[in-house]
Symmetry: C2
Subunit: 427 residues, 2 copies
């Protein structure tokens, strides 16, 4: 006698159903109970550093064999420092305020019923991610703290590392007497399994894909479950005719160079004609000194040429390219309104900034630029859960519904209405 092995679609459906069943308990778990699980998880991570390193070594060996790039192997590696910092991250999440149960609104209609809008967990959240194994722990901690059950589906490259980390999360849940199905890792990186997961809208309430554009596209096109996307950032800095020169230069250099490989670094520098005539050469020189390759439109190019600064002529696709590198496109405009139209057309509605001393121009820009975060006289690099004071983030949403911009614990919640009556009936 033998049992039939469970088919992939049944396996995924069972995981989803188990997550939903576990979600009712996590949703009403006390703050101290959730924090106890997180605290135990941090301890387990620290005491399992050696085993985690061994599991990670298996992934690294496969990666080396398959010729993964050095950058990818680096993202994959769980060094002792990274393991310690994962544990620290979990303790930080434990120290954050519990978002669940907060009253966020009140309505008092004529009928006499008393309506309270209360923050509650979303329910079951699916996280789809790629190579970095720390995402397993970060997302599990954030989902747990916000009262959600989660289903994790990590990348192929980190398979063994993710398995080892997820096992520790489940051990922490069990040891603290919480349903360990509150955190489940899909035990295969087969894309067919991902496809099945995306159809479990009966049990799963939200999918957060974190990864490259190909993965996100696949998820959007195949999911029956609402998706909160984390796409690219094509961010712009606009230097107005009334910009302060020193501020403009410092912010341009910071927004491009401080960490060029991230989504809130700028890809376009948009410059008012009069400011460009007077100061673009100086700003471009400061950028070139930091090793930035410049791609200029005809007008900016003429200014750079006269100043003897090297540049390439920008092509149409440059205006909507996320370089994630020390490359910057420069465009001259004749007004703030032209800058606004340019940014709304070519940008990705992520983070954009204006440098100006004119408050009326600034307010128009802040209102009309259709991006999740719009800055006046500050670097775009601040778009980040930690910098916003959210404590931690599951990502930066490029969607407009539910969560826009940095997505922390509150954005992992929805709300319900609790209504207190005294026997009221509808007339």
């Amino acid at each position: 006698m033998f049992e039939e092995p469970e088919s992939l679609d049944h396996l995924v459906q069972r995981i989803a159903r188990q997550a939903r069943e576990a979600s009712y308990g996590v949703a009403v778990a006390k703050t101290e109970h959730k924090n106890a699980v997180l605290s135990r998880l941090a301890t387990l991570i620290e005491s399992s550093a050696e085993d985690l390193g061994a599991a990670n070594e298996k992934d690294l060996a496969v990666g080396r064999e398959q010729g993964l790039s050095k950058a990818l192997l680096d993202r994959l590696a769980l060094t002792p420092e990274r393991i310690a910092s994962m544990a620290e991250g979990v303790r930080q999440v434990a120290s954050l305020p519990d978002p669940v149960g907060t009253e966020i609104g009140q309505l008092k209609p004529d009928s006499g019923i008393d309506i309270r809008k209360v923050r509650v967990p979303i329910g079951v959240v699916g996280i789809i991610y790629e190579s970095r194994p720390n995402v397993t722990v970060d997302c599990a901690a954030l989902c747990l703290k916000s009262g959600n059950a989660c289903i994790l589906r990590g990348g192929r490259e980190a398979f063994h590392s993710n398995q080892a980390l997820a096992a520790l999360v489940r051990q922490a849940l069990e040891e603290e007497g919480m349903d360990s199905n509150a955190v489940q890792l899909i035990p295969t990186t087969d894309r067919t399994a991902l496809g099945f997961l995306l159809k479990q809208d009966q049990y799963v309430h939200c999918i957060v894909p974190r990864g490259g554009e190909g993965l996100i596209r696949y998820v959007v096109e195949n999911s029956n479950i609402p998706v909160i996307k984390h796409f690219e950032g094509i961010c712009s800095l606009y230097l107005d005719s009334e910009a302060d020169l020193q501020m403009a230069r410092e912010i341009a250099v910071n927004a491009k160079c401080q960490r060029p490989g991230v989504c809130n670094a700028i890809e376009n520098l948009v410059v008012h004609r009069s400011f460009a005539a007077a100061h673009l050469a100086e700003i471009a020189q400061a950028l070139a000194n930091e090793g930035v390759e410049l791609r200029a439109d005809v007008e900016a190019g003429a200014i750079l040429h006269r100043a003897g600064i090297g540049y390439r002529t920008a092509a149409e696709e440059d205006w909507s390219t996320e370089y994630l590198d020390l490359i910057l496109s420069i465009r001259v405009v004749s007004s703030a309104d032209e800058a606004i139209s340019f940014i709304n057309r070519y940008g990705s509605q992520h983070s954009d900034s204006i440098i100006t001393t004119n408050e009326a121009t600034a307010r128009r820009f802040l209102r009309a630029v259709d991006s999740s975060t719009v800055y006046w006289n500050a670097s775009t690099r601040f778009t980040d859960g930690y910098e916003f004071g959210l404590g931690a983030e599951i990502g930066i949403s490029t969607d407009r519904l539910h969560a826009r911009g940095p997505m922390g614990l509150e954005e992992l919640c929805t709300y319900k209405y609790e209504v207190h009556g005294k026997g009221e009936v509808r007339k």
Copy 2:
């Protein structure tokens, strides 16, 4: 010489692109400007009553020819009273506060930047609906007031009525100098066109389907755009062991009978064993007196049988059926926790109520029942935008993300972060 007719996919894409272009203007339009459009629209509707009646008569004639049911023909009809009430509805939307631009949060991180969370329109909203033509005007008015452009796709049965109404909306926009592409009606009810619309995620930010389950399923399965669903309501009333008898009876009758064909009417009556033994007969008799057909589990059936009250035995599927009719299922449970589990399992997370004088039991129920609106000692029939004091609603969301429960002007908005700095750069 002749022009090639525009293909359906090009037509739909052009409409979507035009809506996105118009959306930038509507998003920053002044409150008075939007209200002027609405006020003119109300006047136009009133002065065009005869033309609207004629267009509607064409739809009714086709409907009669095709043998539409009397109920469907009634939903389709634009009587003079309904035309007047549409105009009144538009004036009411004009009188509501403008949700756009309200500051809904503030963050002051250590870096010194000043972050304001500000309510802004979603952008472009697609509304997919079925037979009732007044939806054309209601949704156009709500989208406009909340600063959104909208694309309307009405049902086949109301084709001529919808065309006539949409033309009036566009006339009002034009006469008040606003881009008339802010409101566009897809000029065909071909499902292929709907399929193309659901792929325009480059231009359209949100789809709200209002209609039967088949339509909503189609939309969810084919859309790349986030969907806010308006599904059915399988609502329950739980009579606790400590319920007040008179309140229990009045609310049971109100929640089932006041208007049985709507989503917030109850389909299940869940009764604690001790309360059932003492009072179920009296409550069932009150319901039967209103013409309600009762479907009982074995235990409730025995009580009804002894009291000589007619009933059928409930089948498993009864517990999750939205009757939309004078039919009610009755289930006996042994505890409030069993009631909570029953409701979470069989309900549709819409509106559920507990009748009890025990505050601890009520608070447990309010917290643990995973529905968008949970009542204590009140009828479920209050789940409605007007009853909540939102002024108007585009529907009742059965989704958990972004909007949950009644969806009014605020729920047609998202937010952005406006950041004021003094030259801050990221360290």
